[in-house]
Symmetry: C2
Subunit: 406 residues, 2 copies
Amino acid sequence: TVNGQDLWQDLVTTAAFGGTEKGGICRLALTHEDRQVRAWFEQTCKALGCTVTYDSMGNQFARRAGTRNDLPPIMMGSHLDTQVTGGRFDGILGVLGGIAVLRALHAADISTDHPLEVVNWTNEEGARFAPPMLASGVFGGAFTEEFAGSRADTNGVTLRHELEQGGFVGQEQCGQHPASAYFELHIEQGPVLEAEERTIGIVTGVQGMRWYEVIVRGRSAHAGTTPMPMRKDALLAAARMIEQVNAVALAHAPEGLSTIGIITALPASSNVVPREVRFTVDLRNPSESILQVMEEDFLQRMQNCAEANDVQVDIVPTWNSPAVHFDPRCIDSVKTSAEDFGYTMREIVSGAGHDAVYVSRVVPTAMIFVPCLHGISHNEAESATPEDVTAGSNVLLHAVLKADKI
Amino acid sequence: TVNGQDLWQDLVTTAAFGGTEKGGICRLALTHEDRQVRAWFEQTCKALGCTVTYDSMGNQFARRAGTRNDLPPIMMGSHLDTQVTGGRFDGILGVLGGIAVLRALHAADISTDHPLEVVNWTNEEGARFAPPMLASGVFGGAFTEEFAGSRADTNGVTLRHELEQGGFVGQEQCGQHPASAYFELHIEQGPVLEAEERTIGIVTGVQGMRWYEVIVRGRSAHAGTTPMPMRKDALLAAARMIEQVNAVALAHAPEGLSTIGIITALPASSNVVPREVRFTVDLRNPSESILQVMEEDFLQRMQNCAEANDVQVDIVPTWNSPAVHFDPRCIDSVKTSAEDFGYTMREIVSGAGHDAVYVSRVVPTAMIFVPCLHGISHNEAESATPEDVTAGSNVLLHAVLKADKI
Ligand SMILES: NC(=O)NCCC(=O)O
Ligand SMILES: NC(=O)NCCC(=O)O
């Protein structure tokens, strides 16, 4: 078993990098705070006897040698970046859980056949550089390195620039790294495990998710002199579209989800009727075919709404991550590992995207979920218990050891 | 009569300061572009023999001496700042019209008893420093100089700082400047004169206007894992509030107006349900008592909407400019001047706020409107004809001469 106290101490230590007043974390990818936690990760792993390398997307690989170093490594990991107002477990738990596994093996003086690696995937959240899972996406062949490097934050700074500034560009071409299996430990970020009082989620796959940018064009006009019937108010039209985006999810309840996270209106003056509104749309469903129906429903509703409100609408798809089904053998390793400890468990489909989504395209992959308080995530109030995160790391340890013997 | 060609040439010349690709103007108060047009104004007036002074709010006064300089001056003017995507007539016409009057008197070698002044009021639009009519508001006693100076733009830069940087702080305390009358020429910014094919609007007053900031607080949550019924989506609630704000105007049609010009959502990440949305509300009505009813209706609807959507709402009043009735004698001077030329005309209540609103609290005031294309303003497509702007300046000239004889 892993040492739960050390693991918890690591969670506390790393929470200082970008820690917020409200007890959350603001550690956007490749910012000063992210560089701090990356340095901590590198030093901590080196102190455990690992070698640390980078690939060309700045993904960090901390490697503990095996007895047969010709075998491709078994990887564990997740990400160290967070949302703007993120929590203390999302992502980092999968990395620190990997470190806890290495420590446990070290303490018990156990050698594995395969080398073991703990990986920190760059820019998982997509909060600074959209879309999410960008560097693991390059690793899995979903994005080209050129596309990923060209992604810019709201100030126009590119991911490529920040990788170079930070000295994070390694020799190895991203995606050329061999691996025999990948296990990612993560908080559920949803309410299911907590509600059913189960400790471990055996993640069988990840739902499909699609992103769009909606651009509504009306006509700017003076707030004090333009009669209501003469307006082409892009914001009023957008408000009605937001209602319709919500209706798309409700029409496919309970699985269907829709979210609008970002909205801007121009020219952004109190006494000017907005001429242009832009907002993001995030649609999700575990079923790829229902997600397709949701998309068509969404597009139709936006068109209808634009016509009814005498505005123009353009809809640009910005991300499409199809539903994923993880590797049966890896899933089984997770399941039997949870059984080893007698943990309560259930199979579960992830609502959130994870680096495992793209890694699974090229490496046999599974995930382990542990509960989080009230299912709250992407929120500074995100919380999980020491017992649950330790249990998850124990399952990670055994799953890795089982994979080592396959 | 004024020289319409010179006037039009001045409109063309000044349109270069902040001119946009789409033929509009972006000349926010006290920016580089505004400093340019202020310098042009000063030089042009000095070339006409005026002395130019500033008061403590950076208001510019260009003075042509009268035969009895003990009399308080008759003022003409408006503002040189614009909206972010503003037009080529809003504001500047009232200043250039004043210059056209001085030129006409010069050319005809006419002296007035009263000194005449052309005034450029600082930051009328409120697009950079809210609320609008800030410096004329200090002049009229509506705002303290401290309040006005402390207003900051979206980068946190204050009006006071920009006045000092530009060297626009004059010796004279704002509001201490004596005046015997004030006439402001402006485009209507609405559709009435054009629709009725009238050249001159005799502006009898300005409708009441009230601004608010609405802050909606929900709970941030993960877009992929949070079931729709468990969300407290601040943006969905705000969208429903926007619909209700629109309904407030419709309930008081056709005079009642409501506008939402600015909206922001936090934490502004595509895969996070927004926890906080802020938007501005602008309510207007020519009747102060109906405007009061609109306000109560608005507040009630926001509360109902917040309750129905399980979010919190706070509403902060940010500006209140009561309905204004101009000086009967000044109105009459405008009317008889329009009659002098045989222009078609009508009385009209201004839908937009103007510097005249606050100046009228301390100086007998009236305004002159001319038509603008399709009533479009606060828009780069804003347009007016050379004939109409010349006609308006002719009325301004005669109104000033009549006031001089009172
Ligand atoms: N785990 C996680 O929050 N990833 C972000 C990608 C998503 O939006 O699901
Ligand atoms: N004239 C003008 O556009 N002034 C701005 C103040 C208002 O919102 O009415």
